[in-house]
Amino acid sequence: MKKLTYFPGCSAHGTSEEFDSTLKLVLKTLDVVLEDIPDWNCCGATSAHVMTENLAYALPMRNLVLAEKLENTTMGIACASCYQRMKVTKVHMDENPELAKRINTTVVEEGTYQGKVDVKSMLQYFYEDIGVETIREKVTKSLAGLKVACYYGCLLTRPKNITNFDSPEYPVSMDQICEALGATATEFDYKTECCGASFSISNTEVVLNLSGQILAMAKESGAHAIVVACPLCQSNLDMRQPDIEKQQGIKYDIPVFYITQLMALAFGNPIDQLKFPKHIVPVEGALANIGKVSPVPEKVKKPIKAVEAESEVK
């Protein structure tokens, strides 16, 4: 059994609750226990560093300091934005002890920053710490037939000197995980284009344009669905999809999965736990490609239990 310090991020309890809950299902299969950072706070997202330098460091700093109180050496973060803020802070603090000392004064009561805990996105954790092969071994329901466009967004692999993970231009980690699950990853050239993320509310016009291009390219690549590992990307591509379709006059109808949803599905978890109903764009069409398992209505519980029992026997 592995242990991992977990920073859920604000959206885990809101817009991306399905990411959070399916992540927990996946980690259960992978035998990883999450330990939440006690009384964590918001990372400050884009807003903090847009407006002020110190606060942008101080908010993540508090979480980093709190995380050091747990014993684990790695912190996993679900949300790509939280991950980036936390990692940027960590890298800058480690590079510049003077700055670390100064920022530390804002959270002096929580403790002293020591730089003990490494920060990883959950995607990075799956890829580096769990490994594609281990994931492949755990698959009980192959996703063969499903073509997915893996969309990483800006924050998981950029900037290279901060994240130090995968390629900033054409990353392949999520593609490899999807292929391990049995799905086919399409050749998708917009893997790391920006979706507009932080303008989701304040500048919707930009978001519609940028996310629109991503949807178009995903469709062009022949994908049935998009896979993401970031709540902001998901909500922009999924929630705004009807608006984009309206604006462009094109019907995309391309559901946007969290990577954990697909993993949980392939690991044989009952469909009703995967929170598909939360999606704005219906997922049924895309999932039909993987064959017999069609979304099971929540009422029918018995056969799912049977599947569960089966997997336990294995």
Binding site: P168, Y170, E187, D189, M217
Partner: protein, 657 residues
Amino acid sequence: MARVGVFVCFCGANIADYVDVPQVVEEVKRIKEVKYAVEYKYMCSDPGQGLIRDAIVQNKLTSIVVAACSPRMHEKTFRKALSDAGMNPYLLEVANIREHSSWVHQKDKKAATEKAMDLCRMAVAKSIANEQLHEISVPVTKRALVIGGGIAGIQAALDIADARIPVVLVEKSPSIGGKMAQLDETFPTLDCAQCILTPKMVDVASHPYIELIPYAEVLELQGFVGNYKVKIKKKASYVNFKTCTGCGACWQKCPVKVPNEYNMGIDKRKAIYTPFPQAVPNKPVIDAEHCTMLTKGKCGICKKVCLPGAIDYEMQDEIIEREVGAVVVATGYDMWDPTPYEEYGVGRFKDIITSLEFERMVSANGPTNGVPQRPSDGKVPKNVVFIKCVGSRDEAKGIEYCSKICCMYTTKHTILLHHKVHDSHAYVFYMDIRAAGKGYEEFVKKAQVDTGTTYLRGRVSKIYKKGDKLMVRGEDAQIGQVVEVEADLVVLATAVSAPKDNPELARLLGISYDKYGYLSEAHPKLRPVETAKAGIFLAGCTQAPKDIPETVSQASACAAKVCGLFAGDTMKKDPMVSTINNEYCSGCQNCVKVCPYGAIVTDEVPIGHGSKELRTVAKINEGVCQGCGSCVAICRSMAINLAGFTDPQIINEIVSI
């Protein structure tokens, strides 16, 4: 008692602005051995040297200290001044008060002045221990080695051989010709590369003074200027060149197909092959890596069809040794591999090719018979995007420098495209058009007008696939808009990079190379052809990217240098070599072990005066000794000293301040 003269240079303002020169002069006058000290504006100027000459005569000086720029700069100049005054030139010491003081302590004149004084004291102390030294004469082997058979090596070899000096030309691949043999037409005159190159290649093969060793590499170089010994490995070709008639039956029948290097892998050659039809020598070799007879012992067809019986599967690599007096290195360049450009999808998109691949495609003897084709579907491209500076001027993904030739060859490519595909349209993404050269700007202008090529000023940021087209996105800074071009084919003007084997070669030859892997010249402006190691010269792109005219000029310059070196029967050599004091030498021979040049041998001397009994001592070969001093430092009994850097000289320096 030593009588030292000290001459302190202002170097215009270079020294005088940051060092109080008169004060330095006053200070050195206090040293008891200093009998004369003076300052002057430019010591290296003729009047400055005159000052030294006059002072030597008038003051009966026994050694001279010039406090000026680095000895690496003007030591020779001042030595000359000493000999002109009838003094042994090696009684000179230079105190480096410019590079080591005035230029590096510009904010603290007092400290810089004090340091300059100390440097003068050290030089004075050292000069007191200086001894008269005399140049060494060494015999010369009048034969040159040229490494690399591209246009640079060919030109150098021909020019040297025309002066009736024997040349050994070593080429790595089975044929000479190099990169130029792969080109279609050449800028700015558009003459066909083959037409101007192949006659020279044939000249090389038939020249009575040139020994061509193809399919070979240099293994080892020993010795010193005028007296090098080189070991060359001639790779087994498995074809006896003496009996082979070059009929071609073997490669026509060979069943094994291998990507063709000459055509950048666009088509296939056989496992027994001549690289291209005009190859020199026009004899095939067997590619041992792919030949099934050599790898698995199955096949043998070429041997069956060879009427003269020239195929020999048992052939072994051969080591050839030659004595040469000088070496010309002309190993050319590599095309930079654009894989780091992930945003262009290099490696993922088949229809992105490099400029050399394009060159092969438009070449009349190329794999597509001179008509460019899309590698993905073989269609003739209509919209072709050329991207310049791929790898060049890009410190993030490529190389910092400008590759110099890409602007011109891309211009040439737009013309060639226009010639071959009349209804095509070329787009060029560029940052600057660098067309400095005779007829170059005119060539660019003519190309732009004649072909109607669209020039877009900006670096391409992304290429992605849309249907069967490639979408090329970049900014056109002229209109300040982001543009996307729908391309059928994208040609990357990849950078010129140093041959990857250069560092190894440099180590083997004992010369230096820069951070990119280009071999270093002795001086960037005044000695661009020589290396720091005497007798080794550089021609062509192995030193830095250059175009064909420049390469040929440098190759001819190398030839002139080699001919100059061989002008006399002996050569003069610096006297800074190790000397052995037999009386002190205990014969332990540890020095023999540390000498990197094998310049120390053992000798037998009588154990005492008039004795018949002999004992072993070390002996230095002055001609071979390069003066590193390794032997001096390890000699425990102080039997060895290095002229110019003797123990007393250095210790004097240490204790003088």
